[in-house]
C-alpha cells in the first residue's frame, strides 16, 4: 500500500529530470539536481540562481600564472568591497560565494597565505555577487571564479583541456590579468612570457555574437607591488621598462587596457615548517591597489554595455 503512495511522487520527480537545465557557463544541459555541470564542472547553483532571481550575471575573469596571487587578490577584493560600501557595495548571492572571502581572510589574519587552489574545477571557489554602486540605480550581478593557475597554464598550453575555462573566458565581459611584479623586477622573463601566452590565447577565443577580446576591457595587474616601489609608483612605466614585450603586445592586441599595481602584504618572509616545508608568509596585511583595477574594469564594461544598447 505504501508502495502505491510513493510511485506517484517518484514519477513527479522523474518528470523534473526530463526538463534540462543549461549550465550558466558552458550552456550544456544538465539534470535539475546536479551540483556541478557534468560537462564543465561549473557549479549548477549559478544557473539556478540566475533562473530564480531572473538576472543575467556578467562574468569577469582573474587569470594569471601559478602563485601570482589570484586567490589573495580576489579574496581581498571581495572583502574590501563588502566592508566599505561608499563607492561599490558587494553582496554575496548564495552561501558558496562567501567561501573564498572567508578562507582567504582567515589565512591572512593569521599571517599566512591561503592554500593553493586545487586543479580540479569542482573544487574551485566561485563568487556570485550583487554590486550596488552609488552612481547607478541598477545593481550589477557578477560571477568570478578563483581558477587554479596550473589549470589556466594547462588550458593555455593545450586549449580545451579545461572546458570550464574555455567556456568561461568566451563569455567574460572583461578580464584582470595578474603578473608577478617581483618576478619582473628580478628579470625573470617567465612571468612575462606566460602573460603574453595568455593574451594570445584570449585574442584567439571568439564567440558568435560577441566582440572579440581585442574590444573587451583588460586590466593588467602587477601583483606583489608592495615589494617593488617602482611598480607601485607608475605601473605603465614599469611595464614598459621591465616587460616591454608584454607592453607592446597589449598595445597591439587590446583596444581598452590599462596597467595597475597591487599589493596585499606589507612585507613577507620565508619560514621552514615541519609540515609544509618552506612557506612564504606575510608579516602584515596592508592592501594597496586592489579595488582600483576592478572599478576601472566595471566602468569600462558598463560603458560598453550602454553603447551597445
Amino acid at each position: 500500500m505504501s508502495r502505491d503512495m510513493i510511485v506517484p511522487l517518484e514519477s513527479y520527480r522523474l518528470a523534473r529530470y526530463v526538463v534540462p537545465i543549461p549550465c550558466y557557463v558552458c550552456g550544456e544541459d544538465n539534470i535539475f539536481d546536479a551540483e556541478y555541470c557534468r560537462h564543465c564542472l561549473a557549479p549548477m547553483a549559478l544557473a539556478h540562481q540566475a533562473a530564480s532571481q531572473k538576472v543575467q550575471p556578467r562574468m569577469v575573469a582573474a587569470v594569471g600564472a601559478t602563485a601570482v596571487g589570484k586567490t589573495v587578490f580576489l579574496g581581498m577584493l571581495i572583502d574590501m568591497l563588502s566592508r566599505q560600501p561608499e563607492r561599490v557595495q558587494l553582496m554575496a548571492r548564495g552561501a558558496f560565494s562567501i567561501t573564498l572571502q572567508q578562507s582567504t581572510m582567515a589565512a591572512l589574519a593569521r599571517c599566512q597565505f591561503p592554500q593553493k587552489t586545487p586543479n580540479e574545477p569542482d573544487r574551485w571557489n566561485w563568487v556570485h555577487c550583487e554590486l550596488r554602486r552609488s552612481r547607478r540605480e541598477v545593481p550589477l550581478d557578477l560571477i568570478v571564479p578563483d581558477m587554479a593557475g596550473e589549470a589556466i597554464f594547462e588550458e593555455v598550453e593545450h586549449p580545451r583541456s579545461y572546458r570550464v575555462i574555455t567556456a568561461y573566458l568566451k563569455k567574460c565581459a572583461g578580464a584582470m590579468i595578474l603578473v608577478d611584479a617581483v618576478g619582473l623586477q628580478e628579470a625573470s622573463s617567465d612571468h612575462e612570457y606566460f602573460a603574453m601566452k595568455l593574451i594570445s590565447y584570449l585574442v584567439e577565443l571568439n564567440e558568435e555574437g560577441k566582440p572579440g577580446w581585442s574590444r573587451r576591457p583588460v586590466a593588467l595587474i602587477f601583483t606583489k607591488a608592495d615589494q617593488c616601489e617602482e611598480c607601485l609608483a607608475d605601473p605603465g612605466a614599469f611595464a614598459k621598462s621591465h616587460a616591454s614585450r608584454l607592453w607592446q603586445l597589449c598595445q597591439e592586441r587590446f583596444a581598452f587596457h590599462r596597467f595597475f599595481a597591487s599589493g596585499v602584504a606589507g612585507a613577507c618572509a620565508w619560514r621552514q615548517t615541519r609540515r609544509d616545508g618552506r612557506v612564504h608568509m606575510p608579516l602584515r596585511v596592508e592592501p594597496v591597489g586592489i579595488v582600483e583595477p576592478f572599478l576601472w574594469l566595471l566602468e569600462r564594461i558598463e560603458t560598453r554595455r550602454s553603447r551597445s544598447k
Partner: protein
C-alpha cells in the same frame, strides 16, 4: 600633454604674428607693430613655459641636487654663536633636545631656569612608563584551523619581561621635529650613525636627492603635514635622530608595557590590555584601514585612543620602529629564513587591515634600511639616564662651569 598643447597654441600665435608683421611691413605700419608685440609676447610666454616645465632646465654639471632651494622652508632653531653656552642651550631646548640637557653630566651645569624648562619640556613631551613586568608574545592567539605544529605552539608561549622605568614620547616624531635634525646637519654627522650603516646614509635622500625622509621634496616636508608623523625614514635614520635628541628607540617590551599597561592582580596573575583603551577594538580610536583618511593624520588626532599613561597613537597612524630585531633573538620561534635581518615594528598603520594586526602584542618586521610610507617612530629615554632633581650645590656650581655639548667639544 598640457605642455605640448601650450606650445602648439604659442606656435600658432607666433605664426599669425609673423604673417601680421610681413603684411604690415608691406601695407600699413601699425599692423606691423601689432605683429611685433604679438611675437614678443609669444617669446615671453614660451620662456615662462620652459621654466615651469619639470626637467626642462637640467642641473648644471657643477650644481648638485643638494644645492636646490626648497619651495619653502620652516624657521629652524637659531644657531648659537661659538663659545655661547647659553645660546647653545636655548637652541637645544628649541630643537626639542631636552633629554640631552637632562643627562647628569650636563644637567648639573644648567642654570636653574634652564633646568626647569628642560624638565617641563620632558613632562610635556613624554609620559612615564613605570617599572614592572609585561607579558610578551601572542598570548591571545588561539589555535585555529591549520594550527601550527606543537613545537611552534610551545615556542609561542608568552614570556614575562621586566621593564625598567622610562619616559616614552607622547607622540610619534613629527615632520617638523625631524626637520630640525635635517636642518642641523644630522645626515652629515658621522657620530650619530652606526659605522656599518654609513655607506647607506648617502642613499637616504628625498625625492629631489637631498638628505631627508623619502617622501620629502627639496629637503623639506609638505607644509600641510607639519604635525603628521614623519614617515619614509629607515631604522637607521630613526636611531640617528634618537641619538641627536639624547634618547633612543624603545624596546619591544617597553613599548608593549606603555600600551597594554599591565597590572599585577595577585602573584602570578596579571591583567594586560589588548589595545591601549581596553580589550575590544574600537576603530574610532585609531587611524586604521577603513577608519581614517587613508593616510597619516596629525599626531594629536584620535585622542580617544590614548593609553593609560597618556601616550597617543600607539595603535594606528604609523608603524613604529623598535630598537630590537624581528623576531626577537630571545624568542624560541625557529624556522625563519631572512635574506637580510629585520628590525621590529609595532602598532599598525593607517593601512593596516586586520584588527588582530593592530594590537599591542602584534609584531612585524622590516629591513633596517627600508623607508616605507607608513613607518615612523617615537623615542624613549630611561629614567635612570636623566637627572630629575638637583641639589643646591649643583645650582650654585652651574654658574662657574663652561658647558660643552657634543657638537662643540673643544679639540
Amino acid at each position: 600633454m598640457r605642455t605640448s598643447k601650450r606650445y602648439v597654441i604659442l606656435a600658432s600665435i607666433a605664426l599669425l604674428a609673423a604673417l601680421d608683421m610681413v603684411l604690415g611691413w608691406a601695407v600699413w605700419p601699425p599692423v606691423f607693430v601689432a605683429g611685433a608685440v604679438g611675437l614678443v609676447y609669444v617669446l615671453h610666454r614660451a620662456a615662462q613655459a620652459r621654466r615651469s616645465t619639470p626637467g626642462a632646465k637640467p642641473l648644471a654639471s657643477s650644481q648638485s641636487p643638494e644645492e636646490e632651494v626648497p619651495a619653502w622652508a620652516p624657521a629652524v632653531a637659531r644657531k648659537p654663536a661659538p663659545n655661547d653656552p647659553v645660546g647653545l642651550i636655548e637652541t637645544m631646548l628649541a630643537q626639542g633636545r631636552y633629554a640631552l640637557l637632562l643627562r647628569p653630566q650636563i644637567a648639573r651645569t644648567l642654570g636653574e631656569d634652564q633646568f626647569h624648562r628642560a624638565l617641563h619640556a620632558l613632562s610635556e613631551g613624554t609620559a612615564l612608563v613605570p617599572e614592572g613586568e609585561v607579558i610578551m608574545g601572542p598570548m591571545d592567539q588561539r589555535p585555529e584551523d591549520g594550527a601550527p605544529e606543537s613545537d611552534e605552539l610551545a615556542a609561542r608561549a608568552p614570556r614575562v619581561v621586566r621593564v625598567e622605568p622610562l619616559f616614552l614620547d607622547r607622540y610619534p616624531v613629527t615632520n617638523r621635529q625631524f626637520y630640525e635634525f635635517v636642518a642641523a646637519g644630522g645626515y652629515n654627522d658621522p657620530a650619530l650613525w652606526d659605522g656599518a650603516m654609513l655607506p647607506a646614509v648617502l642613499d637616504f635622500v628625498d625625492q629631489t636627492g637631498q638628505p631627508g625622509p623619502r617622501l620629502w621634496k627639496g629637503g623639506c616636508y609638505d607644509p600641510a603635514k607639519e604635525d603628521h608623523a614623519v614617515v619614509g625614514v629607515s631604522w637607521c635614520e630613526a636611531t640617528a635622530y634618537s641619538r641627536w635628541v639624547g634618547k633612543r628607540l624603545p624596546t619591544d617590551a617597553e613599548w608593549v608595557k606603555a600600551g597594554s599597561w599591565p597590572v599585577s592582580l595577585a602573584v602570578g596573575s596579571r591583567s594586560q590590555r589588548r589595545y591601549p583603551w581596553g580589550d575590544a577594538m574600537d576603530r574610532t580610536r585609531a587611524n586604521l584601514w577603513g577608519s581614517g583618511p587613508k593616510g597619516t593624520v596629525p599626531v594629536t588626532a584620535f585622542a580617544g585612543g590614548v593609553s593609560v599613561g597618556g601616550v597617543y597613537q600607539l595603535i594606528g597612524n604609523v608603524w613604529e620602529w623598535m630598537r630590537g630585531s624581528y623576531p626577537p633573538p630571545d624568542a624560541t620561534e625557529a624556522g625563519w629564513i631572512f635574506e637580510t635581518p629585520l628590525k621590529s615594528i609595532r602598532g599598525g598603520a593607517f593601512d593596516t587591515y586586520f584588527d588582530t594586526q593592530a594590537t599591542c602584542q602584534f609584531q612585524s618586521g622590516e629591513t633596517a634600511i627600508a623607508r616605507k610610507h607608513n613607518i615612523g617612530f617615537r623615542c624613549a629615554v630611561g629614567v635612570c639616564d636623566l637627572l630629575l632633581a638637583r641639589s643646591a650645590e649643583d645650582g650654585a656650581a652651574a654658574a662657574s662651569i663652561q658647558v660643552y655639548l657634543p657638537e662643540e667639544v673643544p679639540a
